[in-house]
Amino acid sequence: MTQDVVVGETAPRPKKKTNFFQRLWANRIFLLLVAPGTIFLIVFFYIPVLANVVAFQNFQYSDQGFLYSLFHSPWVGFQNFEFFFKSADFWIVLRNTVGYNMIFLLMNFFFAIFFGIVMSQLRNARLLKVYQTSMLFPYFLSWAILAYFVYAFLSTDKGILNQLIQAMGGKPIDFYNTPAVWPFILIFLGVWKGIGYNSILYFATAMGIDPSYYDAAMMDGASKWQQIKNVTLPHILPVAVLMLILNIGGIFRSDFGLFYLIPRGSGTLINVTQTFDTYIYRALTTTNDIGMSTAAGLMQSVIGAMLIVVSNWVVRHVEPESALF
């Protein structure tokens, strides 16, 4: 029996008939090893995916259990979606989520390449280690902690920034009630937190370039800038474009912590800080509108999945090696 399994892959499959249960038994150890993960995926992925049908229901809790309520809540068609699309929030949420993500995509693209190249060109290996270690630090901290860092700088009466403004004779700014500054604050923080992490890839790519290219460029009398433009960048760009395409799949998702915790729940900032994820959370907790918040989330997931499939299709045609699937 075990013998069959051993040769199964290389030798032609034995003609001896084995039924389904015998095959299961022969693979029992492997099945045991995948069992916990499989249960996890069923409970925390497949069932929640199915539970998305509440987007088409007027969900009602019943005391007969969750699955019972799922199958017996009245169907309302696309009513929840309509309600979401027709609300004034929809356009704001869409604009904020997509807008912030586009800017993040471009800023991360630019700054990660910039930092990656600069670090690869630095002469002081030991200092470089110090810089890199420091730059990665915020990446490991949660927004719950970073919210305090930010508050220490932006607080109206106690913050460092307002102390500076006052020291220079200006009037203190009530940052947490000034929507106009928040796009800049959020974008800065998002890029700042991730730069150490995002630049690693480009740093590694730049370090991997064969030095003889630079040798040849120097022979031809290329300046440093020309070397970067004509040697380093062409090596990095394929990787960067690939990352850009792959990240497009996440354009409808936002970093919940950044948009929910950093503005400290300030109501006046809602128009510039509300994204899909914060909107869904607030709809769930404040109005308890399960149907509508699920509908918003389902729309987000479906568009996200489509974008991933499309961008993967593009990648497969540009660079088959890097495609996800």
Binding site: G8, A26, N27, I29, F30, L31, L33, V34, P36, G37, T38, L41, V43, F44, I47, P48, V49, A51, N52, F66, L67, V118, Q121, L122, R123, L127, L128, Y131, T133, S134, M135, F137, F140, S142, A144, I145, A147, Y148, Y151, A152, S155, K158, G159, I160, N162, Q163, S212, D215, R253, G257, L261, R264, L284, S293, T294, S301, G304, A305, I308, F325
Partner: protein
């Protein structure tokens, strides 16, 4: 000879002296901006409360005191509870996640597992589609009934498909089938092979995914936000969220947890909040220099497609 050429070749791609100095300063300033806020928070936690009220947050306060920490030690019942919750969730969760992810990865990495392909796709599909916050919330609260239960903070992150991919690549590249084959010829069964050959070889990979998972658990406040109300299951990160918007919460906590006599006293609430931030950050800041290099290594393995 070869060595010498190598050294000069490395020099070639570096900046000239002027540009090198300029970019050193540039990077130093940026790097400083990444660690300075943390030192600032430490200073604030050591600032005398009246200094904060009078002069605001300052990099160099007039009086350094330890009172925030002594109040926390005396009356910070909630902080101790939360610290315990965070440690428990992180330890148990990390054990579960790294165990479940690596066993799953090992099985699907073996070509003689008949259903390897099925289980690979079964896991990969979950990377394509996000089930969404609300349906997951319904499953956890309505189906599993985990509201206000510490397992609501552990189970939703107890397995990671991304960790599976890292481990699968790791198994495929670092444990050749030849070793496994020869063990089998010597008469070892699958379980024996897994226990005495695969696990010892897999330790560096397991260390990497444990790190990812431990960070994820320690930094998680979102599951607590969604699934808990009770103070008994509030992890440190969520405690920070609660006291960020509600300075009174801190005082209430102190008066209910500590002695009634102290309740009316003038608590250094500002300083104590920052002290809690320091307590939540310190474990990461202290271990960070050690795990940082594993993290970078893990990231480069993880870049391999599924």
């Amino acid at each position: 000879m070869r060595n010498k050429k190598h050294i000069s070749a490395v020099e070639i791609r570096k900046f000239g002296a002027g540009a090198n100095l300029f970019f050193n300063i540039f990077l130093a300033v940026f790097a400083l901006s990444c660690v300075l806020p943390f030192f600032f928070i430490i200073i604030l936690s050591l600032t005398k409360e009246s200094d904060i009220t009078l002069y605001g947050y300052q990099f160099w306060p007039k009086h350094f005191v330890l009172s925030s920490y002594s109040y926390l030690a005396k009356m910070g019942h909630q902080v101790i509870v939360s610290f315990g919750v965070s440690v428990f969730v992180t330890v148990v969760g990390t054990l579960m996640n790294s165990l479940f992810s690596s066993t799953y990865a090992y099985a699907i990495s073996r070509s003689d597992f008949l259903y390897a392909r099925f289980f690979t796709i079964f896991a990969l599909i979950s990377m394509l589609f996000v089930p969404g916050m609300v349906p997951t919330y319904l499953v956890v609260t309505q189906m599993l009934h985990l509201q206000d239960n510490i397992w609501a903070l552990i189970l939703p992150m107890s397995f990671g498909v991304y960790n599976v991919l890292i481990m699968r690549t790791f198994f495929k590249t670092s444990i050749p089938e030849a070793i496994i084959d020869s063990a089998r010829i010597d008469g070892a069964g699958e379980l024996r092979i897994f226990r005495s050959i695969v696990i010892p070889l897999a330790i560096p990979g397991v260390a990497t995914i444990s790190l990812f998972s431990a960070l994820g658990y320690w930094n998680d406040w979102m599951n607590a936000l969604l699934y808990t109300n009770s103070d008994n299951v509030t992890p440190l990160q969520y405690l920070l969220v609660k006291i960020a918007n509600n300075i009174q919460y801190m005082a209430q906590q102190m008066s209910s947890g500590g002695s009634a006599a102290m309740a009316g006293a003038n608590l250094p609430t500002e300083g104590m909040r920052f002290a809690v931030v320091v307590v939540a950050t310190l474990p990461i800041a202290l271990t960070y220099p050690f795990f940082q290099k594993y993290f970078v290594k893990g990231m480069t393995i993880g870049g391999v497609k599924g």
